[in-house]
């Protein structure tokens, strides 16, 4: 018997009709409640006694247009810093996580250093690391001191490397010991086992939280402006000081969100895919 031969029973037809009515009803309820809430919000905000003043000082189209080039130029710095710092922090985190798995007495100092690093930098507020590196280190007046921008980037890499190392470590530990046994039984060395069996599975499993940390990093990248370099937030601040109007901040905020959307979308997609893989789907 093929699927096409099937004639639905009376009961099935009644059930299908009932479900259709329910669907229409749900859509109507969702639409009207959204409309009601939206109207309420708009009326509350625009009807507020200070609305006109807020609109002038936060949402002035002319000032937004004037501030845009400077804020965009600053944003370009954010983007470059993000790419470099994300790559650096991911690499550092991976290396630290792998060092912490090494067994044997020879590696004791390496393990201890790696553990000490993750404890320190996960506990230390980013702002303090940033000030220590960008204000303290240049104070040493050593020869060949890297520019403040590089030191600021280094502060981000060190701080986020500590978090990412823990994420990678959780991934490594989630790989079942029987996978190691299988790899070693084939004659693979510890390094080959890590490289070809453990790390590929670990990284796949923790890709969603890793990307989530990269999204967080993209917001913190702006903090290097505290040490001088002009990023999008700092550019907005300068524009605000010149016009006595806060619209440039809104411009910077909108640009940050626009920048984050693709990254967040990728994160969601990866999360969904890995959830599906783990539940046995394709």
């Amino acid at each position: 018997m093929t699927v096409l031969d099937h004639i639905p029973s009376e009961a099935q037809l009644r059930r299908a009709a009932y479900r259709r009515r329910q669907t229409v009803y749900s859509v109507l309820v969702a639409a009207s409640s959204t409309a009601a809430l939206g109207t309420l919000l708009v009326v509350a905000v625009t009807g507020a006694p200070g609305w006109e003043r807020v609109r002038r000082s936060f949402l002035d189209p002319e000032i937004a247009w004037d501030a845009l080039p400077a804020v965009l130029a600053g944003l370009w710095l954010n983007v470059r810093l993000l790419v470099c710092c994300a790559a650096g922090a991911l690499l550092l985190g991976l290396v630290i996580a792998v060092l912490r798995t090494l067994r044997g007495p020879i590696f004791f100092p390496v393990r201890a250093l790696a553990a000490g690093y993750t404890y320190t930098f996960r506990g230390l507020p980013l702002i303090i690391v940033l000030y220590l590196l960008t204000l303290g280190v240049p104070g040493l007046r050593l020869q060949g001191m890297p520019p403040v921008l590089v030191l600021g980037g280094l502060a981000l890499v060190l701080t986020y490397g500590g978090y990412l190392a823990e994420v990678f470590r959780a991934g490594i530990e989630s790989v079942h010991p029987s996978q190691l046994a299988a790899a070693r039984s084939l004659g693979l060395t510890y390094r080959q086992t890590m490289r070809h069996v453990v790390l590929p599975q670990a990284v796949r499993r923790v890709a969603p939280p890793l990307l989530n940390d990269v999204v967080a990093l993209q917001k913190d990248v702006g903090l290097v402006s505290l040490a001088g370099p002009i990023d999008a937030v700092r550019a907005a601040q300068i524009a605000t000081a010149q016009t006595f109007n806060y619209t440039p901040y809104v411009v910077a905020g909108v640009l940050f969100v626009l920048l984050a959307i693709p990254l967040i979308a990728v994160t969601d997609w990866v999360t969904l895919r890995s959830a599906r893989r783990q539940s046995g789907g394709s």
Binding site: S185, T189, R204
Partner: protein
């Protein structure tokens, strides 16, 4: 000459003695079946022979070489021994072909094309040629276990260790894996296999060893150990197996 000779093996886990003065000798081309209740030490013995676990006493010789000497390079030893696990332990992120060629390429440094040609030939021989590019989660248990056996064979081992390779399988899939082991025996492969399939042990093994509390209590030809056991503990074990309908 003996290919594998274990003398006086001892292994403890947190004070519990799991292997106790255990002796085992396996000649080349011989098939030895390890039987015994759950927890009697079969898996531990196989893991110790493959140097996946450290011994607490005793020696293991492979081809006359003392491989339990700590100065021996364990990775080089494991290349000569193939191991298959109860839970298959295929690498889920690699395709069937990549699972099989991993060791030939990374350990034996074979060229990719050469390793893949060998893998495809082995797969064809066991009727899995069309699954080369599939991932393990797309295969049935029986297919996964056959791939695991092929993966171990791709190293051209001198000795195969099989740890209850059919215990995780649905009954109707057991046959295809046993058929493969039968073929291995016909090819002259030396094997040590832990098993609960008494009928299969009787058919394929040259020698059956009954383990109890980490010792070989009784060993000999299958007809003798399974048919006319002399030790009371062997009889008791076989009686339980028969009651469970497994013989």
């Amino acid at each position: 000459m003996a290919l594998l000779r274990c003398r006086g093996l001892r292994k403890e886990y947190a004070g519990a003695v799991v292997l106790d003065r255990l002796d085992l000798t396996v000649a080349e081309h011989q098939v030895v079946a390890l039987i015994g209740a759950s927890g009697s030490g079969k898996s531990t013995l196989l893991r110790c022979v493959n140097l996946l676990d450290d011994l607490d006493d005793g020696t293991v010789e492979l081809d006359g070489e003392d491989i339990s000497d700590p100065r021996v390079d364990a990775d080089r030893v494991r290349r000569r021994i193939g191991m298959v696990f109860q839970a298959y332990n295929l690498f889920p992120h690699l395709s069937v072909l990549e699972n099989i060629t991993l060791a030939p390429r990374r350990v034996h440094r074979r060229a990719r094309a050469e390793a893949e040609a060998q893998a495809r030939e082995l797969l064809d021989r066991v009727g899995l040629g069309d699954r080369a590019d599939a991932y393990p989660d797309r295969l049935s248990g029986g297919q996964q276990q056959r791939v695991a056996i092929v993966r171990a064979l791709a190293n051209s081992p001198r000795l195969m260790l099989l740890d209850e390779v059919t215990s995780a399988l649905d009954p109707e899939l057991v046959g295809e894996v046993l058929a493969m082991i039968r073929d291995l025996k016909a090819d002259g492969m030396t094997m040590v296999l832990a098993t609960h399939e008494m009928g299969f042990a009787r058919e394929v093994a040259d020698e059956v060893c009954f383990l109890d509390a980490g010792r070989v209590v009784e060993s000999g030809p299958p007809e003798q150990v399974l048919g006319e056991p002399t030790q009371p503990r062997t009889r008791q074990f076989l009686r339980r197996i028969i009651e469970a309908g497994r013989l």
